[in-house]
Amino acid sequence: METNDTFVLGGHEFSSRFILGSGKYNVDLIKAAVEQAGAEIITMALRRVEAGQKDNILDYIPKGITLLPNTSSARTAEEAIRIAHLSRELGCGDFIKIEVMRDTKYLLPDNAETIKATEQLAKEGFIVLPYMYPDLYAARSLRDAGAAAIMPLASPIGTNKGLSTRDFIQILIDEIDLPVIIDAGIGRPSQACEAMEMGASAIMANTALATSGNIPLMAKAFRQAIEAGRAAYLSGLGRVRETASASDPLTGFLGD
């Protein structure tokens, strides 16, 4: 069963459900994510990419890895669209993660602008992955706009606080027929595991690994947690009951 459990995103197939986020820019982190966490997709902020830059992030990404450029630093749909165009010109492929933020303090995504950018870029043939605040109406609009997946935040970016938006993410998983990739805020392997048990398609993380004491070991832990959570979801979790289950039921006297 698990060998056939491929993760399809924008028509591309992946076997790993761990995606490395772009927040903390660190060469060791990329290595650990690929080798220990099994990442096949690595996000990168286009604003950090430039030919000629010393320690260019692109030089450290192994062949065979899918690049997921993001539009961080965009404050409007228009700016996100311009960054996406630049990404295409630089040969970074058709994947684009939309990030539109108009608040430097909390870095929360602006759903309205994100929807506008998604609509335009999907029309232009991009595989659009929008980072969003988990709101059902926005998720439906993103789906209708042509998003290839939705990427709701678990908690504010970089906080490692885990699934603060758990109930709302569950609604998106239940209602939106697109891959739901949990982005931002996942701080521990157990939280990644829980999100996968809920039915998330993949987990994006960065800070949780970058700020751990042993990056390769934490990367490995994430891989195991994501695989465990996925297997549990596919198996169908056992029921959770509020009361003990009586072995001698009260209605047993009714017979068959």
Binding site: R47, D55, T104
Partner: protein, 386 residues
Amino acid sequence: MEEKRIDHMKYLPDMEIIDSTMLEDVLQYHDAFRNEDFTAKNVKSALAKTHLEPQDFMALLSTAALPFLEEMAQKAHTITRRHFGNSINLFTPIYFANYCENYCIYCGFNSHNKIHRAKLSDAELRQECTNIAKTGLEEVLMLTGESRHMSDVAYIGNAIKIAREYFRIVGVEIYPVNVDEYKYLHECGADYVTVFQETYNSDKYETLHLAGHKRIFPYRFYSQERAILGGMRGVGFAALLGLDDYQKDAVATGMHAWLMQKKYPHAEISLSCPRLRPIINNDKINPKDVHEKQLVQIICAYRLFMPYASIVVSSRESPYFRNNIIKIAATKISAGVCTGIGGHIIEDEQKGDEQFEISDTRSFDEIYAAVKSEHLQPVTSEYIYL
């Protein structure tokens, strides 16, 4: 010689007035700060919080916080890494003109100081840019002395356009201008604006800035707001610590930045932490009371109050200090610095004298290596001009 001094609180006719009460708001905090009001209890309470209020920020700047410096540094370190990862941004200033119409008694560029004045021609600026770009730098801060007459907005705009041919990010530190002029400079390719208020004590300010447009305190204060209204991505703030009561000035600088972010949530906020340094023809001025310990305290207080703000530590500080402060809270440092005019064109030769002496003369490569040796990631460019 007694000069007739103009009212420093009154705008000159060509100065744009914007509808804002931020000056009053910031000065209220500046004036309300009383060092002796804060105790260890206030400091501990501030250190226990995730989101600091202005009162907590003030407590961390008070003398009562000095015994907690290590704790502040530890917390600042954690917050900095969480927000910025291991990244340390590198940039260099380009001083392209040093004509000045102001008379600021502490400054090497002031109009009464007999120094070599110059401004770079297009060809010279291109040479300067070529030599800097060769090192690997991708971000520059374009600086002038404050002379609208000798370095007008068109001259500065042209210099920005040239610099943009060589660098991905161009910031400016020039005399304050009106909203439409900031808009024009943004269109030329500049993305952020730094203006030092020097001191937020308007009475003291009046005694230090004797002549020139800079004398007008409120016009300078509202520069960052005009820059954001003109479309700039980010703005930088600073007081020149040591000119007046450094604690009050740090309170006001922080509140100015904090209130700007609150009013313009999309604006990128940056804080610089200059102390007074020796200057040409006036080596009697020394930092009054801002020793390295106090400077670290201020930087940590800025970080704990504004986890999202970029904190810049210039080459006024020593290599030793800069190597250590990037491990705590600074996220941006200059590299390969020369504060003279055209200092990168021919080694050991420059057209115009420098504004101040620097303490960290390391080249870009040396600083790059030093940052890496601390297991931090030097970053030369992090923005796309939009």
